[in-house]
């Protein structure tokens, strides 16, 4: 055969089936660009120098992995769809006298062109978008935005290799397909008379059980620790349940509807139900995919957004001053605590040595532990073994410290009397399991409390409660009682809070200098001294929250693209299937208006079903998400609820827009 025929045929094929090929190319370009950008961040040496950049490295390598796996699965999916559509064309070539070898050559050329356009296009798009991506990443991490425009040869090579590899595999898959299948089968590959699906009760039952199990797990977790353990299992169960739901349960429901004659024999239901039933088998997996992708987008976005928005509050709690100095001492081992004047003098001198002034300085002792329970009785034994979740974190301080922090006279308290802030209980009894160990009477509930970081600052999570006890003697007794109740105790902390002069960067540098360079010997009896700055906490927290949000949005967009593409492909392939049916119905006397209406209701149901199911998934996920967010000290329910609702609304709007756009393509095909 003439040389150059095959490349020419390949180009012609791509142009002729552009309705299928164009989105496929876009998919390759999109995923390749996404992969390049995340890989470029992962490989960027400059990124490592940044504050909080260790998190970026972790997040970007997770991102690289997920995007690569996703790209492989998704390109295979779109390719198989494409091939199914084209089997008739290839069968025709075969029958017209082309050998399978020739068809293979055409496919080879097509793949080459596809790879060339996809990878080059993807890399160009990736390079162009890289600035935007890094810009938004820096903003999310609350870092200074760097200047310059970089290329990452390493990421380019990785992208080319990965996508070249994936496309090669799809080519091999396609070649295998044409060598195995005979031409007649290829020719009819598009409309194999599909049998009506059977009701698979076992699968339906499995779907209901797994979905119920997943939801049940989500509803039953008691605390963050459990939530973390259970989360993965619940996700797997819900995914299995979703697939079963769409394949078996939907068919069972449709058949039940069909059995109801009064309902079934009405024009719209009649056409709709039979149509859905007929296509449910092939559609179920696609719909389940859309549903799961949508759920993932929603969960990732709402979760990471809630975390990010809650972080400001968390930083405020964890860092009540510019510089936080915590000195731990152990009264059980006889340590008497820091020499406060000496410590303060040393700190002021060191700050001055860095050219800054201390503008405010205060401090107090406290002791913290967590207890599980409600209404005045708290078990320390389980509270110590599991620090997360529906716990109350108690921070104890002395009346004297309280008075000096509030500038008020020292409250008169007896040994077993306390002021209690944060929880409304009248008395506090701390137990080891069921056995009471020690208790206090709350004589007063102050309306306000001074800002100290306390248990939250130490990373304990839960409902915070502040307890003011009589004096240092009672405070020093607490570790002993704690040990008796829970077999473990922590040290007492003296927390010194300093506000400094200077800019944010200067404060960061002072904190860095103090924590690394300064010698604190001769400042009393203590075991550990730890210095941290608000800037450092800020960077760390936004490093994590910003990294999560970045990854959430990044993958969210990618998954959204996938969902959109699946919707698009479904619409056109169904359009071609439905065309003939509606033509027949028109001949038998179905009005054009009625045709439109029935298409609308059928397509609407089929496409909004996944969205509705996704919304239900998200609703059940909400409780789990709240508990997981507690790990990061984000405890407010309302902002999280608003985030989830907002994400759902925005996603719903995008989904509807995509639906409307692709529905037009569908109508165009059907009514031609």
């Amino acid at each position: 055969m003439r040389k150059g025929l095959f490349p020419k045929l390949a180009v012609q094929n791509i142009v002729l089936s552009r309705r299928f090929y164009f989105p496929y190319l876009l998919t390759i370009i999109g995923t390749a660009a996404a992969f390049y950008d995340i890989a470029a961040i992962a490989y960027d040496e400059g990124m490592r120098q940044l504050r909080g950049a260790e998190y970026v490295a972790v997040f970007s390598s997770i991102g690289v992995f997920i995007v690569a796996v996703f790209a492989a699965i998704f390109l295979f999916y779109t390719n198989s769809f494409l091939m199914k559509r084209r089997s008739k064309e290839l069968g025709l070539y075969n029958i017209l006298g082309m050998g399978k070898r020739h068809i293979a050559l055409i496919l080879l050329w097509e793949s080459l062109y596809t790879a060339l356009i996809g990878i080059v296009g993807g890399l160009s798009a990736g390079v162009l978008l890289y600035k935007l991506v890094t810009l938004s990443l820096h903003r999310l991490l609350r870092l200074e935005v760097p200047f310059g425009f970089e290329l990452s040869p390493r990421a380019m090579a990785a992208t080319a290799i990965l996508f070249g590899g994936i496309l090669l595999l799809t080519l091999l898959y396609n070649l295998r397909r044409i060598t195995v299948v005979n031409p007649i089968a290829l020719l009819h590959g598009e409309n194999v008379g599909e049998r009506e699906p059977k009701t698979r009760w076992l699968l339906a039952l499995l779907g209901i059980l797994t979905l119920g199990g997943g939801y049940g797990l989500a509803m039953m977790t008691q605390n963050s620790m459990e939530a973390m353990v259970v989360y993965f299992l619940a996700v797997i169960l819900v995914i299995i349940g979703t697939y079963c739901l769409f394949t078996a349960v939907s068919i069972a429901v449709l058949k039940l509807l069909r059995r109801n004659k009064k309902f079934y024999y009405q024009t719209r239901h009649f056409i709709g139900i039979s149509g859905m039933l007929y296509r449910m088998k092939q559609n179920a997996v696609g719909l389940a995919n859309i549903c799961i992708l949508s759920t993932m987008v929603l969960v990732m976005l709402s979760g990471t957004l809630s975390l990010y928005l809650g972080t400001e509050e968390v930083v405020a709690q964890r860092a009540p001053a510019d510089l936080i100095v915590r000195v731990n001492y152990d009264p059980i081992r006889g340590q008497r605590g820091p020499d406060v004047p000496a410590l303060e003098e040393r700190l002021s001198a060191q700050v001055a040595s860095q050219g800054q002034k201390v503008t405010k300085l205060e401090g107090n002792n406290y002791y913290c532990f967590s207890g599980s329970g409600r209404n005045g009785t708290y078990d320390l034994y389980s509270g110590a073994s599991m620090r997360y979740g529906s716990f109350t974190t108690f921070t104890f301080l002395t009346a004297q410290d309280y008075a000096s922090l509030t500038d008020q006279p020292t409250p008169e308290l007896k040994e077993d009397q306390v002021l209690l802030y944060g929880i409304p209980d009248d008395s506090l009894t701390f137990t080891r399991g069921e056995t009471p160990i020690f208790s206090f009477q709350a004589v007063e509930h102050p309306e306000d409390f001074p800002t100290i970081s306390g248990g939250i600052g130490l990373g304990l999570v839960g409902r915070p409660a502040m307890v003011v006890v009589k004096d240092q003697a009672v405070l020093q007794q607490l570790p002993r009682w704690d040990a008796e109740a829970s077999d473990s105790y922590t040290q007492i902390t003296y927390e010194c809070r300093l506000d400094l002069s200077g800019t944010a960067d200067e404060k960061y540098d002072v904190g860095h200098y103090l924590s690394h360079e300064t010698n604190f010997t001769g400042t009393g009896e203590w075991s550990v001294l730890h210095i941290t700055s608000r800037e450092q906490i800020y960077n760390e927290n936004f490093g994590i929250a910003g990294g999560f949000l970045f990854l959430g949005v990044y993958l969210g967009l990618l998954f959204l693209m996938a969902a959109v593409l699946i919707i698009y492909y479904k619409q056109i392939s169904e359009g071609y299937e439905d065309r003939q049916r509606f033509q027949i119905m028109e001949k038998v006397g179905l009005e054009q208006r009625e045709i439109r209406r029935s298409i609308n209701s059928q397509v609407l149901t089929v496409f909004f079903l996944p969205l509705i199911v996704a919304a239900v998934h998200v609703a059940f996920d909400f409780r789990l998400m709240l508990q997981l967010l507690q790990i990061f000290s984000v405890t407010d329910v309302l902002p999280t609820a608003l985030c989830t609702l907002g994400t759902l609304l925005v996603f719903g709007a995008i989904y509807a827009a995509v639906f409307a756009l692709t529905a037009r393509v569908y109508y165009h095909i059907v009514s031609r």
């Binding site: 001949k587 038998v588 009005e591």
Partner: protein, 255 residues
């Protein structure tokens, strides 16, 4: 009583870019009496299908008119058209045009569902009709499970269930083997005997020989017509064949 009147029907197709005009029907005039079984014959491109499409109100004539039970089809508004077609016309197509998403029963019931009839009434009409066409056992099956002849019988049942004033058939035996064709034509003859008017477009002399009257169309005009009279199928077949030979020889004879 005259059921269908076709007067000076004309149809001109204009090619897409407005260039050439193609005359599909030049001047067709004939009428159909109630209870008749008419076959329309003609070569490919003679205008048969155009004629049928106009009779079925799927297409509009360029000139002339069609009256069904005294009512002109062109008077019927677009929105009523579907309902009119459903209630007055029954269709049988060459390639069956059954919907593979529906069972045989639902395929037959389709026009009734579209008219919004109650399930009880549907049942009442379906049972005797299915029994008459030998479809009772096939009702729960799907189109891909039954033979071509059975599919065409299903299509006939779908056409008859609305008690149409006229049954229009477009090459109904075109996709069937000879045995199934024979059965279908016998069925048509039976249905016709109960008073059902049938208008069938066909290529097949065998099919045409079962009708009561045959119209020959050539170059967009009714060229000739034959009445069965007292002839048996065999004799009528012979006469139709002779006419066709004459027709293809290019005789300038007009009915």
């Amino acid at each position: 009583m005259t059921l269908l009147e076709v007067n000076n029907l004309k149809k001109v197709y204009t090619t897409r870019f407005g260039g050439q005009q193609v005359q599909a029907l030049t001047d067709v005039t004939f009428s159909v009496e109630e209870g008749e079984f008419i076959a329309i014959m003609g070569e490919s491109g003679s205008g048969k299908t155009t004629l049928l499409n106009i009779l079925a109100a799927l297409d509009k004539p360029t000139g002339g008119q069609v009256r069904l039970q005294g009512r002109s089809l062109s008077e019927i508004r677009e929105r009523e058209m579907a309902a009119f077609r459903r209630d007055n016309l029954g269709f049988v197509f060459q390639d069956f045009n059954l919907l593979d998403t529906f069972s045989v029963q639902d395929n037959i019931l389709l026009p009734l569902v579209l008219s919004g009839k109650s399930p009880r009434e549907m049942e009442g009409r379906l049972k005797p009709l299915a029994a008459r066409l030998g479809l009772t056992a096939l009702l729960p099956k799907f189109p891909y499970e039954i033979s071509g002849g059975q599919k065409q019988r299903t299509a006939v049942a779908r056409a008859l269930i609305t008690n149409p004033s006229i049954l229009l058939a477009d090459e109904p035996t075109g996709a069937l083997d000879s045995k199934s064709s024979d059965e279908l034509l016998t069925l048509f003859a039976d249905v016709n005997r109960t008073g059902q008017t049938i208008l069938m477009v066909t290529h097949s002399v065998t099919a045409a020989s079962r009708a009561g009257r045959v119209l020959f169309i050539k170059d967009g005009q009714v060229f000739h017509q034959l009445y069965r009279g007292e002839d048996g199928d065999q004799r009528f077949y012979q006469r139709i064949n002779d006419t066709l030979t004459l027709l293809s020889a290019g005789g300038e004879h007009r009915a």
